[in-house]
Symmetry: C2
Subunit: 424 residues, 2 copies
């Protein structure tokens, strides 16, 4: 009985596990710090109050419960010993025959960790909820503020990073202030909110072709988003953001600028690249350890194009499935084929009814692209609560410009009642 | 233009505000610490992962946005000055012509505030999420624990308080372990979980007639819940609960035992009863201050039966509507009629398909009662996200014994990735 240990229940880990479900003579243990798998491509919808956490997350345990050969354990990995083929966790030791590391990535603040508290990133449900809290609270603060300068500051939103996530966030804030919130306030006019998207490079969405990126800029501007390129952030604090010599006074900064792979790779002495991704062989194994694989955002696979594959869901899913097939094949005496990524194109959405799609040389923008984006995302929501319900809910919000999940849940758990003593 | 200030966006406050919507020559300011109104009767469903927070909560602001004469401000009230007809908040001062206090109630630990951290109550979304986190984490801990004693402790759940909330929580945990989670674990058998409902008095559900309460006990036992009556809790700590000389080893204690009204009443020098409720006149005003009213769980109205009316949604809703009518009537020169509560009966649910309903001398139990409970609760969910969607979602979960919202979201916001350094 070969024992496969998978660390991480993201797209790579889940696809590897599912691929090994019911495999003869193989047992699988999946370890994750969280109890849920997350459909990250829609995480910005949770941050922007369009969907609830439960719409895009499902318990890993129940997603895999049909496979008796898979065990799921919630916990933290605290150490790896490749020579002894074992790992330590906060609940004890595990030994393995095959190890798959798929721990994902986190945001990188380029050495400015102090920016994090003022500019949260978007990688987990907690962060999405925190971003939602900050954005909605800013409108509340503006509504009750007697000072025009403060109101302006609260109604200024800055998104750092012009990749797909930054574009989605900025578009969603623009749309929310123009449509969803327009009639809800008495002292402020939410449609006057400023949304600024900052990009350090010469243009946004560098992974798309130039005409499509330009189209995205135009679509963002229609939603009231100002796109500033060549605008590297030099400082972020409580009161605002500095872009070179210019100061933007704002209470809400969101970070979508750079990623760094899970630190587990580097901390275990594996060879990593500049952003902490583990450099892998053509079969995703680590040099010198043929039974240790790294997949998804945590791995740097350069054998196909010379550059590392991007940290996207399709790459992670294909790598997970590939590893399951490889391990099954070795169990029956087969050999290893190198991993081959099939690029099915890329898409990004801007607000309620616009998107850009690029598949090879084929390009699409506007409403048709958005419908395609929608169909693809709904298709991949398989296994979640109920695809049909999410679709209905979503259709509802989109058609009526409502955001049902517009709840501010306090960061800390406390009694809700106002008492004079407790107040500041 | 008369200015009505309402503190609290619960059932009483919201019904008062809606009743004053579009009233000529009246403007309304509603202040609440939270941005959302909560449908509290279904809060236990959020705690038990059957529904998402957004299914039972909606932004106060958007629920009232159709009325141009109503302003909503999120904030804390820090002081009341009845003589000067003004109140101070954390965002400034407000003056009023009429003041409606509807700040609700919180749990009371009978002087043992130190129990709170080990035994959270269920009054807010944060608390519901926290309870969900604790219950689901207990199963995770049991699954990964190598020690049989520990596993038993993690699989023991204690609910303190045999009122409707306690019964609903205990029933839901029983059902969850018997059905929803049954196949998801490998090292433990969730159906072996012990659920103990502790009641200090001689029987549970004292507000119901004895035969119905007995029926509820039987229904709970079918779901594997042990009902202990005459069992006052003498101590709660990290490791368990003491009931007189008996020790129950458990990792999860939920508190549904007693309530105490918002401290704002007492702190402002108003006359209060033993549990902090403000004693009100027949028109819900406070003695000596005819323009200050207290409604809902925060008020003690004794003029109808000699005892205070119970802290339920129907009482709060009727009081809110009554106050709106009273203020509208005075604005056109009319007088005040005393408040009169119309009792439409009471209901409690036990698990997925059982309930008890009592309307005067008419009693109903079992599946028919549950259908009635469902119809009433769905009817009153008006104004929330989309009644239809909630119903569909709920039907889905109930029919398939799934709990879609089974997510554990960490209490504190942090990066999700496992790093050896961060771990304890």
């Amino acid at each position: 009985m070969r024992h496969v240990v998978i660390v991480g229940g993201g797209f790579a880990g889940m696809n590897a596990a599912k691929g090994l479900g019911d495999a003869p003579d193989i047992r699988v243990t999946l370890v994750d710090r969280n109890n849920h798998h997350l459909f990250q491509p829609l995480l910005y919808q949770v941050a922007m109050a369009g969907l609830s956490p439960a719409d895009i997350a499902a318990p890993i345990r129940s997603m895999l419960s049909r496979y008796p050969n898979i065990q799921v354990l919630q916990g933290d990995v605290t150490g790896l010993d490749f020579a002894a083929k074992k790992l330590t966790t906060d609940f004890g030791e595990l030994t393995y025959d095959y190890l798959i590391l798929a721990c994902g990535a986190r945001h990188s603040y380029f050495g400015h960790e102090e920016w994090e508290e003022h500019a949260p990133g978007l990688k987990s449900l907690e962060q999405a909820t925190e971003i939602r809290r900050r954005v909605l609270l800013a409108y509340e603060e503006a509504e009750r503020s007697p000072n025009a300068e403060d109101r302006k500051r609260f109604l200024t939103f800055v998104v750092v990073g012009g990749g797909p996530t930054g574009v989605e966030l900025a578009g969603a804030i623009g749309e929310m202030s123009r449509f969803t919130l327009a009639k809800d306030f008495r002292n402020i006019d939410p449609t006057q909110a400023r949304v600024i998207l900052l990009e350090a490079g010469p243009r946004i969405l560098p992974m798309f072709s130039e005409p499509l990126a330009k189209r995205a800029v135009r679509d963002l501007e229609t939603l009231g988003v100002q796109v500033w390129v060549n605008s590297a952030v030099t400082n972020i604090d409580r009161e605002g953001v500095d872009v070179k010599s210019e100061r933007i006074r704002t209470a809400t900064v969101l970070w979508a600028a750079g990623v760094e792979a899970s630190r587990l790779g580097k901390a275990s002495g594996l060879p990593t690249d500049r952003v902490g991704r583990v450099v892998v062989e053509p079969d995703l194994s680590v040099q010198g350890f043929p039974y240790v694989f790294v997949a998804g955002d945590q791995s740097a696979f350069t054998h196909q194009t010379g550059k590392p594959l991007p940290g996207t869901a399709p790459v992670a899913m294909q790598q997970g499935r590939y590893l399951a097939k490889l391990i099954r094949s070795e169990a029956t005496g087969g050999g290893r084929e190198p991993f081959q990524f099939t690029d099915k194109g890329q898409m990004a959405t801007i607000g309620r009814s616009r998107a850009i799609v690029e598949v090879g040389r084929w390009k699409l923008a506007g409403f048709k692209a958005w419908v395609m984006w929608l169909v693809v995302h709904i298709y991949y929501l398989t296994g979640f609560r109920s695809r049909l319900l999410v679709v209905l809910q979503w259709a509802w919000s989109y058609l009526w410009f409502r955001r049902g999940a517009r709840l501010i849940v306090p960061k800390t758990w406390r009694f809700y009642e106002p008492t004079p003593k407790d107040s500041p």
